[in-house]
């Protein structure tokens, strides 16, 4: 059984695979529209200072999301790379 985490728990450089959204329908749908579909791989680039937004790369582009949204993205941490 894979470990389940939220994007907000991940450290910079951590790769992940999207499992599901646990966000309000509106925000969840927006993130899905922007590429957070099940099984999609991404990586956390950096975290803002003292609870600032997170910088995430998914689908080949970079995105900024607040911690509160990142906390609603359930992911499976991946050991290495977009293998």
């Amino acid at each position: 059984m894979a470990i389940q985490m939220q994007v907000s728990d991940l450290v910079p450089g951590q790769h992940f695979k999207v499992l599901r959204m646990s966000l309000s329908k509106e925000v969840g749908k927006r993130l899905v529209d922007m590429g957070f579909t099940e099984g999609r791989r991404g990586v956390v680039i950096r975290r803002g200072l003292i609870g600032g937004p997170m910088h995430v790369r998914i689908l080949g582009y970079d995105l900024l999301i607040r911690r509160s949204e990142a906390a609603g993205i359930e992911v499976e941490p991946l050991a290495e790379g977009d293998a």
């Binding site: 966000l23 749908k29 922007m34 579909t37 900024l64 999301i65």
Partner: protein, 720 residues
Amino acid sequence: MPKVGLDGMAAVDGRGAPGGSPGPVAPALKIALAGNPNAGKTTLFNALTGSHHKVGNYPGVTVEKREGRCSSGGVDFQVFDLPGIYSLTAYSMDEVVARDFILDEGPDLVVDVMDSTNLERHLYLCMQFQELGIPVVAALNMMDEAAAVGISIDSLSLGRLLGIPFVKTVGTKGLGTDELLAVVASQARGECGGTGRQVDYGAELEAWLGRVEALIALDPGFGARYPTRWLAVKLLEKDANAALRLGGHSRRPEILDLVAQAIAWIEKHFGRDAEVVVSEQRYAYIHGAVAETVRISAARGRPVTEAVDRILMDRFLGLPLFLAILWAVFQATFTIGGIPQAWLEGLFQALAALAARVIPEGLFRLLVVNGIIGGVGAVFSFVPLVVILFLCLAVLEDLGYMSRAAFLTDRFLHAFGLHGQSFLPMMLGFGCSVPAIMGARTLKSRRDRIATIVAIPFMSCGAKLPVYVLMAGAFFPRRPGNAVMLVYLVGIALALLTALLFKRTVLRGDPTPFVMELPPYRVPTLRGLMWHVWEKTSQYMRKMGTIILAMATLVWAMTTFPLLPGDASGRAPSPEKALANSAAGRIGIFLEPALRPMGMNWKLAVATITGFAAKEVVVSTLGILYHGAPDAATGPAGRGSLRSALAASPEFSPFLAFVLMLATLVFPPCVAALATIKAEIGWRWLGFVILYQLALGWLICTGIYQFAGAHGPAILGGGQ
């Protein structure tokens, strides 16, 4: 338009570039440029139509549709540049503008402008356009960048797979525009033919979609207005707007019933929300096509952007560097801009002297020398400062730094109830409140938009700068830059506190999400920068020739008439008395009791009031009031600058100068900004904003002046 081609420029459904001449006289083709934010729609629009709209390397620069015209190969095109959208299920207000245009204005064709470096996400929207049943042409924009990061696209095969013609373009260089228009013309004429291809949502979803479509098609009048396939998909996606558009359908309850059944089944079967399933299937379909046609070489990535971001977005370095950059912008504005400013001041003094010599004595000479040259000249000398400020902001925006700044400031802005996305509109406020207030449309929630809009007038605009610089130069000669910086900082603090106050009271609610794309750094094009600056500067100059000239003349007239007759001995009345007797003087004297507590005499009352026409007018009014009075001893030619006239005036003190700067900052903005606030959020909010700023301005200015009075000359003294 340049006729430079790229490889495989046109890929029309496998049939190659279309040729042939257009039919007889046809009305202009109405084409909509749509696509994800920051895909280069406006750049391509400018390249197509030859117009010069503001573009920036920031998602959401275009917040309202724009129209232009062009023609190619004998066909006329009416081109609409729409705000960027991620999906046809609209989320923020600028997205609503774009979606409603496509659905309700019925363009002949949609050109989906795509960032070729980010194809999968851009195709996601493209597939929704295709579902709409409107002819679609895809512009693979930024092909140069895609090549640089090692992406190669077989646009011919991709076009064949998806049933959409793809044209490679580079908007910044105007490449591919002719080919694009040729494909657009033939596609709109139906020459390419519909392939009937569309997204395959998989067997389960397709079965449900088929049943919903069949039911929608039962109302024959309805299918003509909205494509049934699109409506069926959107209903499964729980799009509230689609359900609304179903309003006139004769079988509406039945359809909604079936949709509810479908959604329930899908959610049970897939274990996820139906709208998520629809998105995932759409992405899966796209991924299949992209996997076959797009090659990414191993050297993927943007080493320069990543290296720069490691420094500029660093957890600890990022914020200090951000502040250092802002500081550098202000220093550049004042130190570099001060040099040509001094030349212009000299020029206008020489001009005034010349006019005084050639125009015979009388009212006309007074009008020209004191009214027009004094009024307009006082403002004109600030053009270099404004140009440099705009140039710096344009460079930061085109580079892509503004989204980094949003990242760095979101945590901080969030504490004040604002949003990282409030950042760009607020920065634009340093230029001019009007585009800044409109720029707030990228904010999703109305509460956030209103909070941002009420905060923007406190961001010192370019028109307030001349007032600050004049006052600081006269009364804080040793460190004028610091004094101006202080007023800017006070403004920022007031903007934040105002937003916080509003969000804690009338705009209370849950925080809204912050989801923002981070574009790579891009080298600003010289042409782009020139246009940014030219647009702003010409706007400023036009203001000079119109409202400021008119106001300067009006203020001059109001400070001159009615004329006071000479006394019995025939000597002219003292300038002071003549002014007090004038119309402006009477108004000022009438209002003086209200402004007295903040230390303002009636002259400053007049100056502050005229600022509502345009803030620069405060400077020209001061010029007329304090500088225009003819000096018998030296004559107009012998006078020094307005700055020295003010510094020498016994009516002023450094503290009063500071109060005047704050009054310019805090009192309600100019009529243009007020009209924009009204247009964006309505009369009620406008009234609220005016009352709030009047009250706040009065309280702050009075508080400071009274504090200064109570604490005596200890803090009043010195030209620090």
